[in-house]
C-alpha cells in the first residue's frame, strides 16, 4: 500500500495501566490502517479499548509501546511524542465526543471561531468561516446561542463544525451519536462520510449504533484490547439524508 495514501497507521500499539498486581492491558499490539477518505467504524463492548486507541491516535493518551504514523509522519514512538502534540492536534486532528463538549461560556459561533483563532486566523475571517460552517451544518440561526440554549443535536452539530474548522486530515469521533436520536445520528454519520470524501480525510468513529454502519467503509471490532475485522454486522443500506 502506498504510504502517501495513508491517513493513519498504528504499529503494534500497546497500552498498559498500572503495574504488578494492578496491571491492566487496555490495548494489545493494535495495528490499524486508515486511508485518506476512508471512514472506519470501531465497535466493541465497554472497556474493550476503543477509546484508548482513539485517544492514543489523537496524541492525548500516549501508548506504552508501538508507533503512530499520521500522514506519513511518525508522530508517536512508544510513550514519546515526536512532534509537538498540541500544535499537531490543532493543525491535523478534529475531535468529536459522545457529549458535545462545547465551551459553556462561548456562543455556538465562538466555539467554532476559537479553534480557528487558535490556528492563527484573524478574528473577522474566523468569524465568517465559523458562520459558514454553522450554516453548512444547519445551525447558523443558533450562532449566537450559548450551549445551554441549544438542543443536544444542535450542540453536536456545533461540535462537528468546530472539529471541521481547521480542515483536519483526520477526524476522531467517540460515540458522536449517543446523545442524538436516530435521525440526527444518521445525519452526523452521513456528514462524516461526506467530509472524509470531500476533504480526503481519514475518519475513525467509535460507535455502537448498528443503524448507522452503512456509511462506513471499514468496520473493526475491539475486544479485550485486541483489534480484529468485524464479523456478523449487517451493512444497512441507508438513503442519504439531506442536512437541515
Amino acid at each position: 500500500m502506498n504510504s502517501d495514501a495513508l491517513a493513519i497507521e498504528t504499529r503494534q500499539l500497546t497500552k498498559v495501566y498500572g503495574s504488578g498486581n494492578t496491571e491492566v492491558v487496555a490495548m494489545r499490539d493494535v495495528s490499524l490502517v486508515v486511508r485518506r477518505g476512508e471512514v472506519v467504524a470501531l465497535l466493541g463492548p465497554s472497556g474493550s479499548g476503543k477509546s484508548t486507541l482513539l485517544t492514543a491516535v489523537g496524541l492525548i493518551n500516549p501508548p506504552t509501546s508501538g508507533q503512530i504514523v499520521i500522514n506519513g509522519q511518525l508522530v508517536q514512538d512508544g510513550p514519546r511524542a515526536t512532534v509537538n502534540a498540541t500544535a499537531f492536534r490543532l493543525a491535523h486532528i478534529g475531535f468529536i465526543f459522545q457529549k458535545s463538549n462545547l465551551i459553556p461560556f462561548l456562543s455556538a459561533r465562538e466555539n467554532v471561531q476559537v479553534a480557528l483563532e487558535l490556528a492563527g486566523w484573524g478574528s473577522g475571517k474566523a468569524r465568517r468561516r465559523a458562520l459558514e460552517l454553522l450554516d453548512y451544518l444547519g445551525v447558523a440561526d443558533r450562532a449566537d446561542n450559548m450551549p445551554a440554549g441549544l438542543s443536544g443535536g444542535q450542540q453536536q452539530r456545533v461540535a462537528v463544525a468546530r472539529a471541521l474548522a481547521n480542515e483536519p486530515s483526520i477526524i476522531l469521533a467517540d460515540e458522536p451519536t449517543a446523545a442524538l436520536d436516530r435521525h440526527r445520528g444518521r445525519q452526523v454519520m452521513e456528514l462524516f462520510a461526506k467530509v472524509a470524501h470531500e476533504q480526503n480525510a481519514g475518519v475513525i468513529v467509535v460507535t455502537n449504533d448498528e443503524q448507522t454502519l452503512a456509511v462506513f467503509d471499514t468496520i473493526h471490532e475491539m475486544e479485550d484490547g485486541l483489534l480484529r475485522p468485524a464479523t456478523g454486522h449487517a451493512r444497512h443500506t441507508a438513503r442519504p439524508i439531506e442536512l437541515v
Partner: protein, 404 residues
C-alpha cells in the same frame, strides 16, 4: 477573542460579587494605610501649624505633647530677651473629659498667649479668632459644638466664637483654643471646698512656726487667696514657643536657651520626630503589621477564589487543550481574570473608601504615593494569587475533556 472576558461575561453576577468582596477587603487595607497617614498628620499637625521655630520645655522632658512639661509663665519674658528671638509665646496644653448633652465630652485644651498669639494661624472655617482675654473659645468641628454655643467649664462659661476643621491632637481628640489664662483656669479649676481646705492647711502650717507669732498678719495672709501670697508661684504653662528672627540660626538660639539649667529646647524638627517616635510609634507599628496581615489575607482569599474559578473551568480548559490551545492561552485566561479581579477590586475599594472614610472618627488620609503603591501591590497579589490556579490548569490533561 478574549476568553477571559467571555468567561467573566458568562458569570458576570458571581464575578461582580467576588470583585465587591475583594474590593471591601482591599478597602480595609487602603483604610489602614490612610489611618496610618492620618495619625502622622494628626501627630505633627500642631507642631507644623503653630509655626514656632523652637519649643522651650521643662528641663529633661520631651513635652508638651510626648509628656507633661511645666515651666513658669515668666519664662516667656526671659526667652523674649534672648538675642535672635522675634516672639515668645506661652503655650498651655492639656486634655479634659467632661459631659456635653449627657455624653462624654473629651477635648484637648490649648492656651494661646493672647494677645501675643491671637490664633491667626488657625484654619477657621466659621466665626472669628479670639478677640477678648476671657471666656471665648475657638473649637474644632469634631467636638460637635455650634457657633455661639455656650459651654460651662469649671466656674466659667465660654462662648464658641470660631470653628476650625481638622484640628485634632495625636489621640484624635478635637482641639479647643482658649487664651492661656482661661486654659490655666480650666486646668487648675478646683471646687470651693478644696480651696477652703487648702487655705486652712496653709494657715495651720503657718501657725506651727514662730514667725506667725511675731508677724500675726502672716497667718491671715496664709488663709487668703494664692495670688496675694508672693511666695506662691502662679500656675505653670506647658511650654514657651519661640519664633526666631530672620537671619538668625534657630539652632544657635536654641543652644543659648538650652544653656539655662531649668529648661530644654527642641527645634520644630526635633518636636516632630519626638511625636513620631513617641506617642504614635507603637500605633504606627501596630497598624503597619495589621496592614501586612490584611494584605496577606487578601492574597490568600484571592488565590482561593481564583483557584475555585479555575476548578469550575477544568472541563473547558481540558477541551481547549484538546483542540490545540497552547498553555500560554490557558495561563493568559487565568492571569487576565486575576488582573481584572484585582483592578475591579481596587476600584471598588477606592470608590467605597471615598464615601466611607470621611465618616470615620479618625482622620483617613489617602496619599497618591500610597494609592500607587497599593495598586502595584494589588497587581502583584493578582499575579501571585493566580499561581495556584495556573498550577492546577497546567496539570489538566486534554484527556479529561473526554471523561467529563
Amino acid at each position: 477573542m478574549n476568553l477571559a472576558v467571555k468567561d467573566i461575561r458568562h458569570n458576570l453576577g458571581r464575578f461582580a460579587l467576588t470583585a465587591v468582596g475583594i474590593g471591601m477587603l482591599l478597602m480595609v487595607v487602603m483604610g489602614m494605610g490612610g489611618i496610618y497617614r492620618g495619625m502622622i498628620e494628626d501627630a505633627t499637625l500642631l507642631v507644623d501649624r503653630t509655626g514656632a521655630d523652637l519649643w522651650v520645655v521643662q528641663r529633661g522632658t520631651r513635652g508638651p505633647f510626648a509628656e507633661i512639661s511645666r515651666v513658669p509663665p515668666n519664662l516667656a519674658d526671659r526667652v523674649a530677651a534672648v538675642d535672635g528671638v522675634a516672639r515668645a509665646r506661652k503655650f498651655v496644653y492639656h486634655t479634659i473629659q467632661r459631659e456635653h448633652d449627657r455624653k462624654p465630652f473629651r477635648l484637648t485644651v490649648l492656651g494661646l498667649d493672647w494677645p501675643t498669639d491671637r490664633g491667626e494661624w488657625l484654619p477657621l472655617s466659621a466665626g472669628r479668632p479670639i478677640t477678648h482675654n476671657h471666656f471665648e473659645v475657638v473649637a474644632d468641628r469634631t467636638l460637635g459644638l455650634d457657633l455661639g454655643e455656650r459651654i460651662p467649664l469649671g466656674n466659667d462659661v465660654y462662648t464658641v466664637v470660631g470653628l476650625t476643621t481638622g484640628m485634632i491632637d495625636s489621640g484624635g481628640n478635637g482641639l479647643a483654643f482658649f487664651t492661656a489664662t482661661d486654659a490655666q483656669a480650666v486646668q487648675f479649676d478646683l471646687p470651693g471646698e478644696a480651696i477652703r481646705l487648702e487655705r486652712a492647711a496653709r494657715r495651720n502650717r503657718a501657725g506651727r512656726i514662730d514667725l506667725s507669732r511675731t508677724q500675726p498678719a502672716l497667718l491671715e495672709r496664709a488663709g487668703g487667696e494664692s495670688v496675694a501670697i508672693p511666695a506662691l508661684p502662679p500656675p505653670a504653662v506647658s511650654a514657651v514657643l519661640v519664633d526666631v528672627r530672620p537671619g538668625f540660626d534657630p539652632r544657635a538660639v536654641a543652644d543659648t536657651i538650652a544653656g539655662w539649667a531649668d529648661v530644654s529646647v527642641h527645634t520644630r524638627e526635633d518636636e516632630r520626630q519626638l511625636m513620631l517616635a513617641g506617642p504614635v510609634e507603637k500605633a504606627k507599628l501596630q497598624i503597619g503589621l495589621f496592614r501586612v496581615l490584611l494584605t496577606l489575607i487578601s492574597a490568600i482569599v484571592m488565590a482561593l477564589i481564583l483557584y475555585t474559578m479555575t476548578l469550575d473551568k477544568l472541563q473547558s480548559i481540558a477541551l481547549l487543550k484538546l483542540i490545540g490551545a497552547p498553555n500560554r492561552v490557558i495561563l493568559g485566561l487565568i492571569v487576565q481574570q486575576a488582573l481584572v479581579l484585582g483592578v475591579l477590586g481596587y476600584a471598588v475599594a477606592y470608590l467605597l473608601g471615598q464615601r466611607l472614610f470621611p465618616r470615620f472618627p479618625r482622620r483617613v488620609i489617602l496619599t497618591d504615593d500610597d494609592l500607587l503603591s497599593l495598586a502595584a501591590i494589588v497587581v502583584g497579589i493578582s499575579i501571585l494569587s493566580s499561581v495556584l490556579g495556573m498550577w492546577k490548569a497546567l496539570r489538566v490533561s486534554p484527556n479529561d475533556a473526554l471523561s467529563g
